[in-house]
Amino acid sequence: MRSRVFKMLGRTMLAGGALAVAAAAGPAIAKDTINVGIATFLSGPAAGPFGVPGRNGAELVIDAINAGTLPAPYAKAGFAGAKMNAIFVDEAGGNAKQVGEYRNLVEKRGVDAVLGYISSGTCMAVTPVAEELKKLTILSVCGTPRVFEEAQRTYVFRTQAHAVGDSIAAAHYVLDKFKDMKSYTGINQNYAWGQDSYKFFDVAMKKMAPETKASDNPQFPKIFAGQYGTEISTLSLDSAKLVHTSFWGGDIEAFVLQALVRGFFNDKQVISSVGGSAVDSLGKKFPDGVVMGTRGEYGLLVRDNKEPLNAWFVEEYKKRYDAYPLGPSYQYANSVLALKIAMDAAAEKAGGFPNQEQTMAALKGLSWQSFGGKISLSLADGHQAVHPVGYGITKWDKEKGAATAVDVKFYQPECIYAPAGQNSVEWLEAGMPGAKC
């Protein structure tokens, strides 16, 4: 009781102080709550495997920050003292619709910032609008590097590393563990993420192991097509033994189910860059021996990692949602955390509640310990994150009755991303000069 009174007193004083400074220096007026729009798939095939785990991750961390129950060093309540009121919106329905929804969030509902976005397509679409409307936007999951390499962004940040690292790490892992792979093919969705993922994997393989042969018939079905019988036949006929896929959001589950019955996984070595959701949703049905990535130190690969923030996140998530957190849960949680850290730092520096410019200045180039390892916004002039990316091999643990990953190996950012200021694709095609692995 007493401590609560003190806390309240402290908060009031802080707010009072903030107000005084605000009046003097002219930054934003202290707020009790900030409204933040959070976009994630709430309907359509990607909702179950991606959207909802992402929303859960965000919700968990927002509630913890509002209540001040995050573990150290983030135990201070609030976002620069303010509580976050999250407005969740559905990311389904096409890019044009998302652009309209983004405008509504900013112009109609007056949010202070926008967070989230899973699909690379949506990220590409909303980024120019975010710049136009000058609204701080933190992208959480999407992977195409084009977002920051087509133009320099001012208002848009991404707390997730881009697809180049996922693909290069995949190539490294394959060449490390499967030395006898002579040729490869792929099945990827026909849009920014799938096209980029395979293209980068292909170039990385060509540069790192010129003797391997690429298939002349990789498959690019439409996203959310659902039925892959014919594509599986095509891949089966292909002599390439290694199959790269960046399927996600319902498609990976469908693909695994259809391929599994056809003995596909006995014949082919599949490497999936982001199929973690299927490992959990299919449980013991999911085949052993698939190379699985989680796009960072997230999900399946770090389930038993005892690093305190990760342990807290896994435990609290399990308690609240009765499931393990997946990649998207981490990715959304990390975006929320980044906003908190930036706002707290900006508040301290400004001596009061920070305005958007101050928050952005604090966010730029930020480096922080997240729920999934250390993340640094070191590319694209401090707007684009890098962090290690790892792969492991799926294995069903009978005793625990849970999915696990063995032979997990992480690749450090110096090894898998172009140095700051360089174009990823050009760097990749030049043979990744300066990469330290």
Partner: protein, 298 residues
């Protein structure tokens, strides 16, 4: 050679699937002259019904073969309940309206049913792989195939034979042809046209739901997957001739095999071939390849 066999098998398997989903659409159009957009919703509901009940059965450790009963059971249930409600409550009041307005009404029904799925079943995907896993796999033409998809051929043939028998060899089928030929005269002759319409619509809905229920074990059953099916089955039905059952068969075969060739050889044209063929057929023979010749009524 191996490629040709594979393309043929892939094509046939996809064609069987297309035939099963679109035959209900063509029956409803043939008898009632309604182009039923809500067909996609029946498909989705059938899939959800099957996936949900198979999941329940698996949770209770029932034997896997029960899954097949559940597939047919949920298709019939969905067809009976949704079909009857929609026909009696909405469509019955609309038969005097223009065709196009009825299409729009079914579009409205489709939108409503899609969202009710979301409200009832939530957004998490359902898996009902047990029946597919039960049947295992077989090596054909050099590659391994799952037996479950091959049973689609059998089901398609069964459905085709069933429709043919029902229409040509039963009293009911004759009644149907009379109603198709002239609704007013049938009424005057004391045929219960309302009943015929109700039964036809329920039958069509059941077949649509069966398509979804039967495909459910092979996919991740998730919201929003009824949308693409509608235009696909439109294409099949239009190519073969709206209202013609052999037409639906031919349409399904053409689309299935052309798509298989496209995916194997020209992946970029996968969707283009389907609708390209639809447009070409409509331009050359608007009534479709197999439509019965009709006298023009003035």
């Amino acid at each position: 050679m191996q490629l040709i066999t594979t393309m043929l098998l892939d094509g046939l398997s996809y064609a069987s699937y297309l035939f099963i989903v679109s035959v209900g659409l063509t029956i409803i159009f043939g008898v009632m002259k309604i182009l039923n957009v809500a067909h996609g919703a029946f498909y989705a509901w059938g899939a959800y019904g099957a996936a949900y009940t198979i999941g329940l059965a698996s949770d209770n450790d029932w034997p896997d073969w029960i899954g097949f009963l559940l597939i047919f059971g949920s298709a019939i249930l969905v067809g009976l309940v949704l079909g009857a409600i929609i026909e009696r409550v909405i469509l019955r009041k609309m038969y005097h309206e223009e065709e196009v307005l009825i299409v729009l009404a079914t579009f409205g029904i489709f939108l409503i049913l899609e969202d009710i799925i979301l409200l009832v079943f939530g957004v998490n995907p359902y898996f009902a792989y047990q029946p597919m896993a039960l049947l295992g796999s077989i090596k054909m033409g050099g590659i391994i195939r799952d037996v479950y998809s091959l049973t689609l051929f059998g089901l398609a043939i069964l459905v085709a034979l069933g429709c043919w028998y029902g229409l040509n060899k039963t009293k009911w089928g004759k009644l149907l042809s009379v109603v198709i030929y002239d609704r007013e005269i049938s009424l005057a002759m004391g045929i219960n046209v309302q009943m015929v319409y109700l039964v036809t619509f329920v039958l069509g809905a059941t077949l649509g739901a069966l398509g979804g229920a039967y495909i459910a074990p092979t996919i991740s059953v998730a919201p929003g997957f009824g949308i693409d099916v509608i235009v696909l089955s439109f294409a099949v039905v239009v190519i073969g001739g709206m209202g013609s059952i052999p037409g639906a068969l031919i349409g399904a075969l053409m689309v299935g095999i052309l798509r298989a060739i496209a995916v194997h050889k020209f992946p970029e044209f996968e969707l283009f071939v389907i609708f390209g063929v639809m447009a070409v057929v409509l331009m050359i023979r608007p009534e479709g390849l197999f439509a019965p010749e009709k006298a023009r009524r003035i």
